[in-house]
Symmetry: C2
Subunit: 232 residues, 2 copies
DNA sequence: CGTGCGCTTGACTTTTTTCAATAAAGGTGG
DNA sequence: CCACCTTTATTGAAAAAAGTCAAGCGCACG
């Protein structure tokens, strides 16, 4: 259906497999199957003993359960590149929910047995994936912590500190998302973000030039992020 | 220093190792070393080629980097049960930061070589850990998504739906944290949470009795969580 | 060269927080 | 088992923060 090259390229964009060596990605390509799923088609049902997990390359898949009275409760709707069913497959459990395409979708299927084989033959494979998941988990935890600060300046300060620390470039960094997206990420709207960035500049906490942000008064940023101070 | 029994018990409380079989936990106990770290003692430094990773059993460890001008930038302060250094170890990389105890701490050390050994001998070991990390990641992603809703009723609705779905108990669940803690989790304060819970009850979206919450009007809760509606 | 998007600013409205006071709930020791 | 104390939860009124709506600028792209 598709060239080998293009399959490997798709695999390399899957976050779970990011950072694997090319040869590991090639081996993944060898065991996986590309599938087209029609709109409305059920991919698996709750209780199915899964023989593999899936990755959405393109499309939209809903993961849902049925409640006691038969109503559909959507747990999650996938984004491109996301895996689904993998936690159950890794744990050797049955699928805990239903998966159904809500529009025509392209997915990759990784059979459990071949995947387990890969992992047992090459422990660095598993280690790599563990490393990736750990790192993402740490990152998300930090994000979730900062999002639970009650005021936007605090959330923004936490995020700025986080970025300027995780890239060790002398307190300057370049946003890799638009300010609109940053606003959404921080749980606010572009207008508010814009105003707060201006205030922080006026107060000489940071310097902003386009997407480039430089932290100046790290001490005050930390106070904001800790919630012990506020922006005048 | 401590009995084998107690060591295994400690291991079973480590989130990363949750759900492993008793025999797997025993094998972990055999390869790990308990260490007491004095206040102020450095556990590893940036650039050290790590020969293993750590888990804090009890105590407080700060993970930090030094900025270009020599100032300490704290990336993270551990909670009990958390691992640190594991992402680097799994990836076979050097430690990317410093780790220092900020009070007397008890940690478990897992040597890389023995750990890799365990994983390569027993692939279900790695699979289990992958399953745990995947599940936690999915959960945290959901949380982070709901936290980025701009208004508190939306965040609360998302959280209620999430809980009542993930425990399949017919729309009723019991909070396992206090409402004060829930408020902090949602990025607000107890007063606001209290008021919004009352409003949601008055509007017959939910029923609250102590820590027990029952979702009644799931449709409207979903609209709130999607931000497409608001609470009168 | 106009259209659209990202970003910013201002005036006004709504939501949330603060502060203060009070009520319930949970333990602890007598 | 009760009195006492602490923590947790709730409510009101005023202040502060954030959101909405509307308008305008600059820049990339067709």
């Amino acid at each position: 259906m598709d060239s080998k090259e293009s399959l490997i390229r798709k695999i390399s964009f899957i976050p779970l497999f990011e950072g694997l060596t090319p040869s590991q990605q090639t081996r993944l390509a060898q065991i996986c199957a590309e599938k087209k799923i029609k709109r409305g088609q059920t991919i698996f049902s709750e209780g199915d003993s899964g023989d593999g997990f899936y990755v959405v390359i393109k499309g939209l898949v809903k993961i849902y359960k049925l409640s006691v009275d038969g109503k559909e409760q959507i747990l999650h709707i996938t984004n491109d590149g996301e895996t689904f069913g993998e936690a159950a497959i890794f744990a050797g459990a049955n699928f805990p929910a239903y998966a159904q395409a809500i529009k025509e979708s392209q997915v990759l299927f990784f059979p459990r047995s071949a995947f387990v084989d890969l992992i047992s033959k090459d422990s660095s494979f598993a280690l790599n994936m563990l490393a990736i998941l750990s790192a993402r988990l740490r990152k998300l935890t930090t994000l979730a912590e900062s999002l639970s600060l009650k005021e936007v300046p605090g959330r923004l300060a936490a995020y700025i500190l986080y970025l300027s620390k995780s890239r060790n470039n002398g307190n300057t960094f370049v946003l890799d998302i638009s300010k609109n997206q940053l606003a959404a990420l921080l749980g606010t709207i572009p207008e508010t973000l814009s105003r707060i960035l201006s205030r922080m500049q006026r107060e000489k906490l940071i310097a902003v030039r386009g997407r480039e942000i430089r932290s100046i008064d790290i001490k005050r940023l930390e106070e904001l992020a800790a919630g012990s101070q506020r922006l005048s």
